[in-house]
Amino acid sequence: MTDFLLELRSEEIPARMQAGARAELDKLFRAQLAAAGLEAGDLTIWSTPRRLALIAKELPDATAAISEELKGPRTSAPPQALEGFLRKTGLTQDRLEDRDGVYFAVIERAGRATRDVLAEAIPAIVRAFAWPKSMRWGRESTSSESLRWVRPLSGIVAILGDELIACEVGGISTGFATRGHRFHCPGEITIGSAADYADKLRACHVIVDHAERAAIVRDGAAKAAADAGLTLVEDEGLVIENAGLTEWPVPLLGRFDEAFLAVPPEVIQLTARVNQKYFVVNGADGKLANGFVCTANIVASDSGAEIVAGNRKVLAARLSDARFFWEQDQKKTLAEHAEKLANITFHEKLGTVADKVERVAKLAEWLASEGIVPNCDPALARQAAELAKADLVTEMVGEFPELQGLMGGYYARAEGLPDAVADAIRDHYKPVGQGDDVPTAPVTVTVALADKLDTLVGFFVIKERPTGSRDPFALRRAALGIIELVLRNGLRLELDYAASRVGHLIGLQQEKSTSTAVHEIWLAEFMGAELFRAVPDFFVDRLKVQQREAGVRHDLIDAVFGLEKRKDEIVGNLARVKALQAFMATDDGANLLAGYKRAANILKQAGDMSASRLREGLGEGRSSATPSPETAPPPTPPASGRGELEPAETALLAALDTAEPAAAAAVADERFTDAMSALASLRVPIDAFFEDVMVNDPDPAVRAFRLGLLARFRDAVHSVADFSKIEG
């Protein structure tokens, strides 16, 4: 049992690729060893900007001998088959075994020294390594087939125990030598074994464990801020990135000119983070302060004074650019900025962003004036929608696209627009993902909803719909956003109605820009009835996913949203689903479902029977027409000439007479628990009915009456939910 060390040293590996590279090294190393019959066991994998390192603990010294058995052709098979098999196994015919007329080859493989396995594995790992982007370099790159790595690969250390694993890949031979910190210890250092690797590097100013460096960045940055009476704004992404950019991280605090704090804090944070990889800090008041923390890669001879001064200067230049954008953008109103949206294509079939804005503004106004979003001033909704995208053409958003919305909000407030409008501009992209804030301010809700509806329905109109994992226009996210807005705010949005409204608005724009004939063709192609089914169906699918976490059963969603008679609306239907789920958890629910299934089965058989009897009667016995279960006998009325009804029949009839109107009224008033109670009142009578009465009575009139009763029962259940879709 021996420990193994592998170090792949290269020029600087991008920070964002290091975690993936560690996983890749783990995977490839295990795969290579497994292929040779070795278990890799416990692996430690580290990365720095300049190296990937792997330590495998306690590798066996050799692989176990293995005996492999291969099944060959039948002994009666043509000679070519035998020849092929011999070629494949490398054996001669006398070495094959004949077992019941089938050749078998038994190949004994002796154990291999782990040293030899590794000497083959290392070049194979290097060659197979998948980087997000890789390159060729140097003299070897005269050929397109030269070795590829993320940046030039400069050295490989491979030591098993204290023995070198000698191998070569792409002109690089393994050795004991590596290098320390680029500036503190530029010379070669010799590694003895896996045991002294990390310590020798540490002595040469390299902390090879990425997690340890991350901790130094995390804690050091917090301490640098705290020492100055400030609080670090935590940012784990920056911690990892800075740990990936340094072999010896040294967090340093700097200050910038307080005057820059006039620029919105989000801008300052983003400038510092994205461009410079600095942390920002808050003052005692919890607001952004004029400080930053950068992470150096050296212990500077002046303790970092020059480094901080240099970084401050760079940040100042960046911030003065940001302030320039901030001031420049405000020289125009958002309405003036918005004029430029006509130059940006939204989608070739859906027009420019200005076209989209026009549609969203009309839609927002409609959502407000129809009361779909209650308590929303239609004029404000329209105004906010008209300006919501204007910041896309500002300098600031051009520089920092992630500030879209936010900057529009700032600019709107700065030009004195109502707060409701500024807030709506700022937040109309929300909710962006699960867990994001869901707007509740009416104007914001309206614009957010209108924007997403336009995107979703628009792409549905032009048939750019998500398929499988492909969703290039993020329509699933748009649908999810709409669902969250609707649920959070209890909006009664009828999806087919809204879809037709959006389709209509797109159609109007098309009509303006094309001839009547072309428009007719466009309408025929893109505005089919199918569209107004497809949009609600898409929402039902998304709703199932969205509600899964809340524990709502997808079959119950189908049972309600799949009803023949329904409104394509989320809030009421989902309330009904939840009431149904609660009901299904009760004895009454479970038994009613059983009764329903029994009734449905009997009706189905009766339907099949009556249909086939019908066919026989008409001499169409071989017709392939499928009878619908719905062709069951008509419900009631009691057949004339029948005597007294059985008590169970009377009871069921009476129960139905009560339950039907009660369920209908409850559904109409959205008292879904009451609707479930109405159904529950049918449970005892239906159970008793099945217990006491034989449906398939020899008397056709009696039978027809009883089937009719069952059909009435089924329809009563269907007035609340389609129980045929319920599982179990």
Partner: protein
């Protein structure tokens, strides 16, 4: 280096020339056309193609019309200098050579934080891309460091290492000034006074910003673009790819001016860029076609 006075702008250039000259680079002169970056110099674009070793260094004046700020921004210029080094094939110690050049102009790597930060390079107009870094000195990008992988749509075989130093930034850093116009361009000698960067270029920035943004006649720019495009195609047809490439550079710069004049819409922009790319790629292809027989003859085993 604290005791010695930091290098003037011109001495920094001379030091770099001496440094790279001593490492085998031919010191070339700027290309005599308006270009956006040192990469456009045919000594980079065309010479990075093919198997021949090529080691050069030069200063290239670079024009970025949209970066003009009328001389009012301390960091932004519509005309500035790049120092360009091409080492082909890329030597194994290229990073060390580069760091040596920083030391030569006065940057102590144990006093200043030098970092190689991922920055892949792509030039759609040149049909070119490479992987590399922006080199940071105390958080400031002072150099683009790129291993060319493709140029004009062709694999670079072998790969060239390209170093592009931003001279003004580097000088501002070394001289510790906050405003580019305050840079010492040359030092006084005897009773001959030195000049500063502003003495040389401030008025240029004012006038060219105005011309780029406000004055340049867009009709003649559009006409010029068309003419350069046509001439490039004629030159390709006549098998004079170097002349063709000049016209591609010309078209590229006219496009940049049109951008600064704000007369190219977002939709048109992609179209113009594609046209420039076609010219650049066409010139590269014509260059390869005119040279490849010789390359194949002189470098057995080399393929396109």
């Amino acid at each position: 280096m604290a005791e010695t006075k930091p290098l003037s702008f011109q001495d920094m250039i001379l030091t770099l020339h001496a440094y790279w000259g001593a490492r085998g680079c031919a010191i070339l002169q700027p290309y005599d056309m308006r270009v956006g970056a040192g990469t456009f110099h045919p000594a980079t674009t065309l010479r990075s193609l093919g198997p021949e070793p090529w080691n050069v260094a030069y200063v290239q004046p670079s024009r970025r019309p949209t970066d003009g700020r009328y001389g009012e921004n301390p960091n932004r210029l519509q005309h500035y200098y790049q120092y360009q080094v091409i080492l082909k094939p890329s030597p194994a110690d290229i990073q060390d050579q580069y760091l040596g050049s920083l030391a030569a102009i006065g940057i102590d790597p144990l006093l200043h934080d030098i970092r190689f930060v991922e920055d892949d390079w792509e030039s759609p107009t040149l049909g070119a891309w490479g992987l590399g870094w922006e080199v940071w000195c105390d958080g400031m990008e002072v150099t683009q460091f790129t291993y060319f992988q493709q140029m004009g749509g062709y694999d670079c075989k072998p790969v060239a290492g390209e170093l592009t130093y931003g001279l003004e930034r580097l000088a501002m850093y070394i001289q510790n000034v906050d405003n580019v116009y305050d840079l010492r361009f040359s030092d006084p000698v005897g009773d001959v006074p030195g000049v500063c960067y502003g003495d040389v270029f401030l008025e240029n920035e004012r006038q060219f910003s105005k011309w780029n943004f406000e004055v340049a006649d867009t009709d003649s720019l559009f006409a010029g673009f068309k003419a350069a495009e046509a001439e490039c195609r004629r030159a390709i047809a006549a098998n004079v790819p170097l002349a063709a490439y000049d016209q591609a550079i010309e078209a590229s710069h006219l496009f940049n001016l049109l951008q600064a004049r704000g007369v190219i819409s977002v939709q048109e922009r992609a179209n113009y860029m594609a046209r420039v790319r076609d010219l650049a790629k066409g010139s590269c292809k014509a260059w390869i076609d005119s040279q490849s027989d010789r390359w194949i003859a002189q470098y057995p085993g080399w393929t396109l």
